[in-house]
């Protein structure tokens, strides 16, 4: 085709194009900060309306672009990265309608707009983003179809919306097997080619710090944070402590993870007899610390085990990840404590919590050097006089004093924090361990679900000969709040006045979600290599994978061709056999022409190949009778039909000899 100026769009195509662009940008806008998202959305709509009649002037467009880029950069604090890139993409897509007037513009807009759902998935993989992204993709295809329709000039008989969507659905259905084959078999990258940028919008959850009273929101958040499946032994509810960040440093208000211990090797541990082998599926946190059952034995590949048995990955956990771990309850955990560590575990800020210090010193005088008895006395006191509540006042300067002597009610943050301060005041090395406790067993799928509301903090004290010992003062007060594996804490049980009808639905929903995680989100190079393990193939190396992918792609392509050409195939088996017989004569140069009647053809064959003539003449007579002489014979006998088909199929013209 000679190159000509791209034709101007008609109103309907243009509407489709703009709606598709909007649908593509929508999920991305939802991921931006509300202010920026709203700004870009308003700009986009305004620009599309202004430019409806004629494209905006170049200078206006340039000005708009500069203003929007400036706004985005300011909002993003001039940082470059994934978020800024996504915001800029959204801004560009908002400006593009200013010049969308020709077919070419519309197509490039659609092409670029498809990057928006793609960008959204880099930021968020929640169900809403997935659904919106899918809708956007469907709309994009429908619009491409509309544009092709426009291009081919079919203005009179346009497709209905329903016809268009069903056409698209058909294309997707036909393309789906290839897409799935590619998804499971296309070789994945074990390590990224370029870095994964950090997500700057952080999610609430466990972090490297803890302020007593700061978790109140977290404790009511039912969002799943990890799912666990045990292979073999399952720990008792009282043993289900999921170890996360260990906090050593206390500044009077906030507990933090120290920096100094990063390079130190894991502490010496003697394990008890129990062994728990489990697979953990961690929702993205953007941190680098894994959560593991107390205490993890050995780190998985590329994961570092810190001195206080925290597991640190090489990269931020920005996506769903799965880990196979082994844990055991410790018998003796770091029985020799180096003096530096001992010092760190005794450190308290000067001038805070005088009453706690006085009490600890009084107990120390009474009990002498018996650390274990001191711990026990503290636990007994807590058990006797304290209450569990999520409703706590804001702490003042001496937060521990206020809690221990005034309110005497709080939740795990207060209990663990105060307990550790009390122990340290008495000269017992102690630290706060954060993580999760308990879990909910989903009977559908037989796995354990740990939610954000299971977040927990407990204490570890160091005793001579035994090393670090877990002490949970919260459990001494409200064990049911800690080991909430019981059905009464099942999801949805508190809703609707304790109706447990919701629970099975929740179970099913979470199980489906886990399946999606399992099959789609968590699928990586490692699992791909183990894909054929059930069939006895241990590991798929890249070469095998490529070969497998090639075979599967070829097969699905054939299947696609078959599916799309189904309408083409002759439905009548007699006709099919007849055509096939005609084609067999091609070799002899006597193939039946499409327009040639049966009789003419067999006559023609008889003229040049007298040896084949009679057999073919008889056969074509039979065929013609069967097909056209129904009026005379009056019926179509099934047996007759079968025999005719068989005869036609068996008929093969030999090069020289007799035709059968």
């Amino acid at each position: 085709m000679a190159k000509s100026a791209s034709p101007l769009l008609d109103a309907d195509s243009r509407r489709w194009t703009l709606i598709t662009a909007a649908a593509c940008v929508l999920p991305l806008l939802l991921q931006l900060t509300p202010l920026l998202g709203a700004l870009i959305a308003v700009c986009g709509v305004a620009i599309a309306l202004m430019a409806w009649r004629r494209p905006l002037h170049f200078f206006v467009r340039a000005l708009l672009a500069l203003v929007l880029i400036g706004a985005v950069m300011m909002q993003m604090n001039f940082g470059l990265g994934r978020d800024t890139g996504c915001a800029l993409l959204a801004a560009m897509l908002a400006i593009k309608p200013a010049e969308t007037s020709t077919l070419r513009d519309a197509r490039s807009l659609i092409g670029f707009a498809l990057f928006a759902p793609f960008g959204t998935f880099l930021l968020d993989q929640g169900p809403l983003s997935l659904a919106l992204g899918l809708i956007a993709a469907l709309l994009a295809l429908a619009t491409l179809q509309r544009l092709a329709e426009f291009e081919s000039g079919e203005r009179v008989r346009r497709l209905g919306h329903w016809q268009r969507l069903s056409g698209i659905a058909r294309l997707i259905a036909i393309g789906l097997p290839l897409a799935l084959a590619a998804f499971w078999l296309f070789p994945r990258l074990g390590t990224p080619l370029w870095g994964v940028p950090d997500r700057s919008l952080s999610r609430p959850g466990l972090s490297g710090s803890m302020t007593p009273g700061g978790w109140a929101e977290l404790m009511n958040d039912e969002t799943p944070t990890l799912r666990v499946r045990f292979n073999g032994a399952v720990p008792k509810p009282s043993q289900m402590y999921w170890r996360g960040p260990v906090l050593w440093n206390f500044d009077g208000r906030e507990w933090t993870q120290p920096r100094w211990y990063r390079g130190l090797p894991a502490a010496q541990t003697q394990s008890g007899d129990a062994r728990w082998d489990y697979e953990i599926e961690l929702e993205p946190t953007d941190g680098r610390q894994l959560v593991a059952l107390d205490l993890p034995l050995a780190p998985p590949p590329d994961v570092r085990l810190s001195i206080d048995h925290g597991l640190f990955t090489a990269r931020p956990l920005t996506a769903l990840s799965r880990w196979r771990l082994r844990s055991a309850p410790p018998l003796r955990y770091q029985p020799q404590l180096q003096s530096v560590l001992r010092q760190a575990a005794l450190d308290l800020p000067e001038g805070y919590n005088p009453r706690t210090l006085a009490l600890a010193q009084r107990w120390r005088r009474e009990l002498g050097g018996n650390d274990a008895a001191l711990v026990q006395r503290a636990l007994d006191w807590v058990h006797r006089e304290f209450a569990y509540t999520l409703d706590t006042p804001l702490p003042g300067r001496h937060s521990v004093d206020e809690f221990l002597f005034d309110y005497k009610a709080g939740y795990c943050e207060h209990f663990s924090s105060s307990f550790v301060v009390l122990m340290r005041s008495a000269g017992i090395p102690a630290r706060v361990v954060t993580g999760y406790a308990g879990g909910y067993r989903n009977p559908i799928g037989d796995y354990w679900l740990v939610r954000r509301s299971d977040a927990h903090a407990w204490a570890e004290v160091w005793l001579p000969q035994r090393g670090w010992v877990r002490v949970d003062p919260t459990a001494a007060v409200a064990p049911e709040r800690v080991y909430d594996t019981l059905a009464d804490r099942a999801p949805g049980a508190n809703l609707l006045g304790g109706l447990t009808v919701v629970t099975p639905i929740f179970n099913l929903g979470d199980w489906a979600r886990r399946g999606w995680n399992d099959f789609v989100l968590g699928f990586d190079a490692n699992r791909q290599q183990n894909l054929l393990r059930p069939l006895g193939i241990d590991r798929l190396d890249t070469g095998r994978l490529v070969a497998l992918f090639g075979v599967a792609a070829g097969l699905t392509l054939l299947w696609m061709v078959w599916l799309s050409s189904r309408g083409e195939r002759e439905r009548d088996p007699v006709l099919r056999a007849w055509h096939a017989a005609g084609r067999r004569y091609r070799r002899l140069g006597l193939a039946r022409e499409p327009h040639e009647p049966a009789q003419d053809w067999s006559d023609r064959v008889a003229r040049s190949r007298p040896d084949l003539g009679p057999a073919l003449a008889a056969l074509s007579q039979r065929f013609a009778d069967w097909r056209y002489a129904v009026a005379e014979t009056g019926r179509r006998d099934a047996r007759e039909k079968r025999e005719l088909i068989r005869a036609l199929r068996a008929h093969r013209p030999g090069p020289n000899g007799e035709g059968r």
Binding site: F121, L144, A182, A525
Partner: protein, 321 residues
């Protein structure tokens, strides 16, 4: 036309494409002669999808990967669907009303296809040589497209290789198939624009059997296109507000003899042009005429459309001097 030398890859591709010679009709578009190549937009779309795939693989972002794969799968399916738009279609016949050289020749391409599948947005053009493409609407299994070709000289018209194509369903790929019909299409000689009037009826002047009363009208009838002006009865027409024509038992007038040898002063093509003009004039006047060409049996005397076509055909097919 179609075998005009063209540089570059396109030309070479075209040379390999089937059919390579004119072929008898009907021509069935089987799989082997339907070609599919991505359009410019298809390439852009593929590039966009490739970068999405690469990004998704890098971040091991499975939803993004699935999205890109889904779009790729639908794109590939659209390539197959584009091919399927054409396979099974057959070009059944080609025809055109003969026109004088210089007039556009309107060629109608008749096609049919099994009605099971809707075939939308098909177009026919002359292998991309001109911008003009005619829609081929296959409603209910058969349809036709009308292409217009410029004609330069009398004689058989060499139809270029035609291309039936579509970019449906998504505009990502163009599927096309060539058909090069070996169909005889005739171009008549261009008539002389200005020239002398018809020669007077000569030779044996067979006067038509007139009515005994001489000029008396046998009866009047309504005007039909092509009636001679002198046959119009002006006075009765004026009375009736409609053109009326006197009809005699036999047309009046002597047969016109159009003789090649009678105009020696003219050049070869000029004689043909003048004869073509005279044939049209004689037809317009409703007179019988004979055409005498060297080395050919004489045509006529007769008149009417078949005679006219026979005469013009004979003129068109005179060897080029």
């Amino acid at each position: 036309m179609a075998d005009r030398p063209r540089p570059g890859l396109r030309a070479r591709l075209r040379k390999f494409a089937r059919p390579r010679d004119p072929e008898p009709l009907p021509a069935l578009f089987h799989r082997g002669r339907v070609y599919v190549l991505p359009t410019g937009f298809g390439l852009f779309f593929a590039t966009a999808l490739m970068s999405m795939l690469l990004g998704a693989l890098n971040y091991n972002n499975n939803p993004a990967l699935l999205l890109a794969l889904l779009l790729s799968g639908a794109g590939l399916a659209s390539l197959i669907a584009a091919q399927m738009q054409l396979t099974g279609l057959s070009v059944v016949a080609i025809d055109a009303e003969p026109v004088a050289a210089g007039q556009p020749l309107r060629v109608r391409v008749h096609a049919k296809a099994p009605p099971e599948r809707a075939r939308r947005g098909l177009r026919v053009d002359d292998d991309g040589d001109s911008d003009a493409a005619a829609p081929l609407d296959l409603d209910g299994g058969s349809g036709e497209a009308e292409l217009s070709f410029a004609t330069r000289q009398r004689g058989w018209f060499e139809l270029p290789r035609l291309r039936v194509w579509t970019t449906r369903p998504l505009g990502l790929a163009r599927a096309w198939s060539y058909v090069w019909p070996d169909a005889p299409l005739l171009v008549y000689p261009a008539p002389e624009p200005h020239g002398p009037p018809l020669p007077a009826g000569s030779g044996d002047q067979v006067q038509s059997r007139l009515h005994p009363s001489g000029d008396d009208v046998h009866h009047l009838r309504g005007y039909r296109a092509g009636d001679a002006r002198r046959a119009i009865a002006w006075k009765p027409s004026a009375r009736r507000d409609a053109l009326l024509v006197r009809e005699y038992e036999q047309p009046l007038g002597a047969d016109v003899v159009l003789d090649w040898r009678a105009m020696p002063a003219l050049g070869y093509e000029a004689r043909i042009a003048r004869l073509a003009r005279w044939i049209d004039e004689a037809e317009r006047d409703g007179r019988r005429y004979r055409l005498m060409l060297p080395g050919q049996p004489e045509l006529g005397p007769s008149s009417g459309s078949p005679h006219r076509h026979a005469c013009l055909r004979a003129l068109a097919l005179l060897p080029h001097g």
